[in-house]
């Protein structure tokens, strides 16, 4: 997949709270569809649908064990998406640091 198309898929996958919760669960270790369905009170097909989206984005992969087909987290694409958020964050951080300084100035003026 081309890198922009892949990022689109990653951000789309991450936009859903259930899928983020599934990723958080997989961050603590592999799990089968059954195990993933339990805490969400969802049917297996519904969970499978979410897993398919995550798999297409490359965020998770199926494990080797064919019987259980446990899913596991793929850390690299997630790190790639985080990198974009980090760039965006840095763009704003400069402004907000200046705001910190301005607020200090305003606070000391108020105290006078």
């Amino acid at each position: 997949m081309q890198s922009t198309a892949r990022l689109d898929a990653i951000f789309a996958a991450l936009a859903d709270p259930t899928r983020r919760a599934i990723l958080a669960r997989l961050a603590s270790g592999q799990a089968s569809v059954n195990e993933l369905a339990q805490p969400f009170d969802m049917s297996q097909p519904a969970v499978s649908k979410h897993l398919k989206v995550l798999e297409r984005a490359g965020l998770i992969s199926g494990g080797r064990d064919r019987q259980r087909r446990p899913r596991k987290l793929e850390p690299r694409p997630l790190a790639e998406a985080t990198k974009w958020l980090e760039r965006y964050r840095r763009r704003w951080e400069g402004n907000y640091r200046r705001l910190d300084a301005l607020l200090e100035e305003l606070k000391s003026k108020e105290r006078q």
Binding site: A15, R87, R91, W92, E93, G94, L103, L106
Partner: protein, 160 residues
Amino acid sequence: MSTLTVTTPSDREIAMSRTFDAPRQLVWDAHTKPELVKKWLVGPPGWSMPVCKIDLRVGGSYRYEWRNDKDGSTMAMGGVYREIKAPERIVSTEKFDDPWYEGEAVDTLVLTERGGKTTLTTTVLYASQATRDAVLKSGMTSGVEQSYDRLGDLLTSPRR
């Protein structure tokens, strides 16, 4: 120092959150009084904000203009206030003069105070997911982005 967090709460939004060591009224003033906004919302080094007009009422408009003092290039944006609840919430539209993303975006600023500290959350809702993603990915090759990166490096060195 507080950290700025960036999240994507839905497929059309970008949200930022940060806590400031100041009462809410001061953070509100810093966002709504032009003479104060000009002091911090200036962008990368070498840029200034010569124009900041704010007509703080529902239906009123605002306009921000930035200038690169070295080469004279300018950048400007503005919009209309849709909702104002002092000192805690502002909903406004935003559009750049030289649009680098499609359509108009809607900004929601929320300030909450706790124990003398104020948490700011600003959420920008874009016209489409493609636009939101383009904004997230923007600047990768632009000089502006590089300047910001340099600023980031400069500022991460220990303060004072």
